[in-house]
């Protein structure tokens, strides 16, 4: 060993040792070390996969696909017309598979609401009996190229956004957003909820369909998202700018295809009255993007992260359809008047597909307004995004954050990096009341549990 002329030190562990470096003006980096996750055997596997050329190549490919995906809104259709499995008495839900008896309050509430909406049940009692008797086939949205926010309930008559990945040809679907407060996706099922769903089926869906079909090539969704990120949205929990940008395109189309001025006004009022209208189309776009890596051999990049209010589930590109699940955490956040943390349902919804496609919590720096959910500062928002950069493959080429010098958003959540750094991905989410029938009570933040990442690595095989 030859002693270097000037030493430069990476400090790994105790902060107290950097005093000496400060006093002697020695260059140093104080690595924010956290214990890696897993027993020695798992860590050995982690190191092996990290240095595997096959894994590296597969992850590079996954990163390229996530970047090159071009989600385009091509149609709005009734779910049963685009998803053949969604037949009579079939209901899709968010997250990994879950049986009726294990469903959380809001998912049960939304499922019962859907039974009434579809006319399978007269009232809530009947709906409950029907579900409990096993007359309804439940299946995760994710098993059918679909996603749904919160409860994620999708039934045959509902209209869905049809988004196509122009680069890879795959399609994905998501319901239309009903608005905030008492809505089906947060587990509410009162008459007004059902009435609104009916209106969406009779009026909103068909007219959106007409409008989208009037475009030549559809509406490019990632372009809207990219713009919205520069306007203060992260397009998961804040969609104000994106909804405005989307509406800008829709208004023109409505004027082209609809003669009835009052109808246009009705449509525009509904859309502009809901700052989250864009969320669902964005989620469908994220799903087409994420599906481009599903089943990609040897890749350790996460292709699905979703919650059903009971469990959170992951799917890894390289392990195909296999779910890795853990108990869903409870988000901490801000609550509407009259509600408290006590009322919060565990983490819920497919909307974390946003993070898998490099927006949402990973793009928090773009939307400092919403770190207030956990009493954070604008500085924290930047910290979250930088932190997520350390557990993802690389920066996004399309989604950029101006206040980070146009750094691309963290893209390609890698289980190896999660376990290596001990940093769990960060989720921002709406919060449903834990009981059925009440609806949204707040919004907040949490981190995904480590155990499902460990299980995923345990299962992964390099071929």
């Amino acid at each position: 060993m030859k002693i270097p002329e000037k030493i430069e030190v990476v400090n790994i562990g105790l902060d107290r040792f950097i005093d000496a470096f400060e006093d002697t003006k020695t260059q140093y980096a104080n690595y924010d070390w956290k214990p890696p996750q897993g027993d020695p055997e798992l860590l050995a596997k982690l190191d092996r996969l990290k240095s595997s050329e096959k894994v590296k190549a597969a992850n590079r490919e996954a990163y390229e696909r996530l970047n090159n995906s071009q989600p385009v809104l091509i149609d709005v259709k009734q779910a049963k017309d685009v998803i053949p499995q969604l037949k009579e008495k079939v209901i899709f839900h968010a997250g990994p598979p879950v049986k009726w008896e294990n469903m959380c309050g809001p998912v049960k509430g939304a499922a019962m609401g859907a039974c009434i909406y579809e006319g399978w049940a007269e009232n809530i009692e009947e709906a409950k009996e029907m579900c409990a008797a096993g007359e309804i086939d439940f299946s995760p949205c994710h098993h059918h190229n679909a996603v749904g926010p919160m409860a994620g309930i999708l039934s045959p008559s509902m209209y869905v956004w049809v988004v196509k990945n122009k680069t890879y040809g795959n399609e994905a679907y998501c319901s239309l957003n009903e608005g905030l407060g008492k809505v089906l996706r947060f587990g509410a099922y009162s008459d007004e909820v059902i009435e609104r769903l009916k209106w969406m089926e009779k009026v909103l869906g068909p007219n959106l369909s007409k409008a989208v079909r009037a475009t030549e090539d559809g509406i490019n969704i990632s372009n809207i998202t990219a713009q919205a990120l520069q306007m203060g949205d992260e397009c998961h929990n804040r969609n104000v700018a994106a909804t405005g940008l989307f509406l800008k395109q829709l208004v023109k189309l409505f004027l082209e295809v609809i003669d009835d001025k009052k109808l246009i006004l009705e449509l525009v009022n509904f859309i502009s009255g809901n700052d989250h209208f864009y969320l669902n189309v964005s989620m469908a776009a994220c799903k087409t993007t994420a599906d481009s890596i599903a089943g990609l051999k040897n890749s350790t990049i996460v292709s699905v992260m979703a919650r059903n209010g009971t469990e959170i589930g992951l799917r890894i590109a390289g392990s195909g359809d296999k779910w890795f699940t853990a108990e869903a955490g409870i988000p901490k956040g801000l609550f509407f008047s009259g509600f408290t943390q006590e009322d919060a349902n565990p983490d819920l919804g497919d909307s974390t597909i946003s993070e898998i496609a490099a927006i949402g919590g990973f793009a928090m720096a773009a939307a400092p307004a919403i770190v207030k959910f956990v009493g954070g500062t604008a500085q924290d928002a930047i910290k979250y995004t930088k932190e997520m950069a350390s557990i993802t493959h690389g920066p996004n080429r399309k989604f950029q954050i101006p206040q980070l010098n146009f750094m691309g958003t963290p893209t390609g959540l890698d289980i190896l990096k999660v376990l290596d750094t001990g940093i769990a991905p960060f989720i921002n989410t709406g919060i449903a009341h834990k009981n059925p029938g009440i609806g949204q009570v707040g919004a907040g933040l949490l981190r995904a549990p480590m155990s499902c990442f460990k299980d995923a690595l345990n299962y992964m095989e390099v071929k």
Binding site: R16, W33, A369, Q379
Partner: protein
């Protein structure tokens, strides 16, 4: 009965999350049963209705109007809360923003922040240390593992790996190193000079570097090897690399090799290697006896001896190792004995006859045991003594006792005594209550990593016991240390402690006290 009020701020558009935070804070204050700030959209009004907060006034709000809805116990509280809301709006953004303190979250990111990273200092929990060390070596960094609890197998593997990459691995359980004047881990700020050190002992290395500094010499590099390096299993891999490194280092003119009692085969091998070197080498392997010179090698048996000999060699002086480097020893002794025994020796038979040593530095404790044995006193201890001299209970002294309080039994679940002195303070008080105790002997280790003002943390304890027993100490540190040597010594002396320049001298002094008591 409470009152409910809606106030509308016309055309006052605000971010909903910002508003929720204000409302949330308001709801925490006394006398407010509920509060909500929302823009007057239809959806928001529904939420207010659900919360039973919407009034006729609120109904009139338009979507760009802010509704402040409050249910309070009294008009007064309501008025106050509106003021609070105004205050929240005015003070938004004034909360302290944490600036800059970005710690790289990954090893790779940490590397990228440096121009030419060449060392990693690892102090994570032992079970993770080997993995971090392996990664640092793979990235071309020399490594110091401060952490303990690294397996022997990992240690050997890592040391071989370091050698194959022409790097050095210091540790595991390496407490101290100084490379190019930069203190790593628990180290003192000592003068730069021409003496290079390789040491299999943390506090030993500190004592030797500090002694060299006191003698007016200085060091080039001090390489730590970790406590197990000179075991038969490891075979002195790092010390051997260290010798070669210092041999090739042009600024190193004198070399010191230092170890707790090594395995004889390993010691022999390293001595052979040192003999072939074209520089004077001072070797202090504790447990060996006496002072001797052979060719380029000088053997010493104490840390102090190693430090002084190296300093003298470095200045081209003849080696001479005095018993004390202060000249008023007899006067000090007289004063201490008078304080303890009184003018007319009211000493009860059987009282005041033992040394109780309470140490933070493990090798300092070892050095003291060696010196005491040389003076015909065989102390019991919890470390580094043959089985028959082991203390049955580390928490209870027996006859002459030397306790290394840095050993596992004292540090499980609490910081090392160089950082947290509370356990040792308690022990000092306990020893002071024991009639058989004559001298309480201790060390105070300064430097980076150590307690920022250890003497101050001892003041209360020392003042309680100073009239009961003779307190003898040495302070391992320099005036350039963050704690300042002179200041620490002055604080101890103010509490009646007799402070000697080195641990060896403090120990010799303690032995003299015992001899004198016996003689009287």
């Amino acid at each position: 009965m409470g009152i409910k009020k809606n106030i509308i701020n016309k055309d006052n558009n605000n971010d909903s999350v910002f508003l929720m935070e204000i409302a949330g804070n308001l709801e925490k204050s006394d006398g407010i049963s509920s509060a909500s700030l929302m823009m007057g959209t239809e959806a928001n009004k529904d939420i207010l209705i659900q919360a039973n907060l919407l009034t006729e006034e609120g109904e009139k709000a338009k979507e760009n109007d802010l509704i402040i809805a409050i249910a309070a116990d009294s008009e007064k509280i309501l008025k106050d809360s509106i003021q609070k809301i105004e205050h929240s709006f005015e003070n938004a953004g004034s909360e302290k923003q944490e600036e800059g303190d970005f710690k790289p979250p990954t090893f790779e990111a940490a590397l990228k922040t440096l121009k030419n990273p060449n060392f990693a200092l690892i102090s994570v929990a032992g079970e993770y240390a080997a993995r971090e060390a392996g990664r640092a070596l793979d990235n071309g960094l020399n490594v110091m593992i401060f952490s303990d609890n690294v397996s022997l197998e990992d240690e050997i593997k890592l040391k071989k790996k370091a050698n194959s990459r022409d790097l050095i691995l210091m540790g595991p359980d390496c407490g101290t190193a100084i490379i190019g004047g930069v203190p790593l881990g628990f180290a003192n700020m000592v003068s730069v000079g021409n003496i290079g050190i390789v040491a299999a002992s943390g506090s030993g290395l500190q004592e030797v570097t500090v002694t060299i500094d006191k003698e007016g010499a200085g060091i080039t590099h001090a390489i730590g090897t970790g406590g197990r390096d000179l075991s038969l299993d490891v075979g002195g891999i790092t010390m051997s690399t260290g010798i070669t490194t210092l041999e090739e280092d042009p600024s190193t003119e004198v070399m010191v090799l230092l170890s707790k009692p090594p395995h004889p085969d390993v010691a022999k091998k390293l001595i052979q290697k040192a003999k072939k070197i074209n520089k004077p080498v001072v070797i202090c392997f504790l447990g060996s006896k006496g002072f001797k010179s052979e060719g380029n090698i000088t053997f010493t048996s104490s840390l102090e001896g190693a430090g002084i000999a190296a300093a003298q060699l470095s200045k081209g002086e003849k080696i001479s190792l005095p018993e004390f480097t202060v000249d008023n020893i007899d006067a000090m002794l007289e004063k201490d004995l008078n304080n303890l025994l009184g003018d007319n020796s009211g000493n009860n038979a059987g009282d005041n006859k033992y040394i109780r040593g309470l140490y933070a530095g493990g090798t300092l404790c070892d050095e003291s045991i060696d010196i005491m044995k040389g003076s015909g006193i065989s102390p019991y201890s919890n470390a580094g003594v043959p089985e028959k001299m082991k203390l049955k209970d580390s928490n209870k002294s027996f006859e002459n006792s030397m306790v290394d309080m840095g050993e596992d039994e004292f540090t499980k679940g609490r910081p090392h005594p160089m950082i947290d002195l509370s356990l040792r303070n308690k022990r000092i008080e306990a020893e002071a209550k024991d009639d058989e105790t004559a001298v309480i002997l201790f060390d105070l280790v300064l430097g980076y990593g150590a307690n920022p003002d250890p003497a101050k943390d001892m003041t209360d304890t020392l003042n309680k016991v100073k009239d009961k027993k003779i307190l003898v100490a040495s302070v391992c540190g320099t005036d350039s240390d963050p704690q300042n040597y002179s200041d620490q010594v002055a604080q101890l002396e103010k509490c009646g402690v007799t402070v000697l320049p080195t641990n060896a001298q403090a120990t010799r002094y303690a032995c003299k006290v015992i001899e004198e008591i016996k003689a009287r």
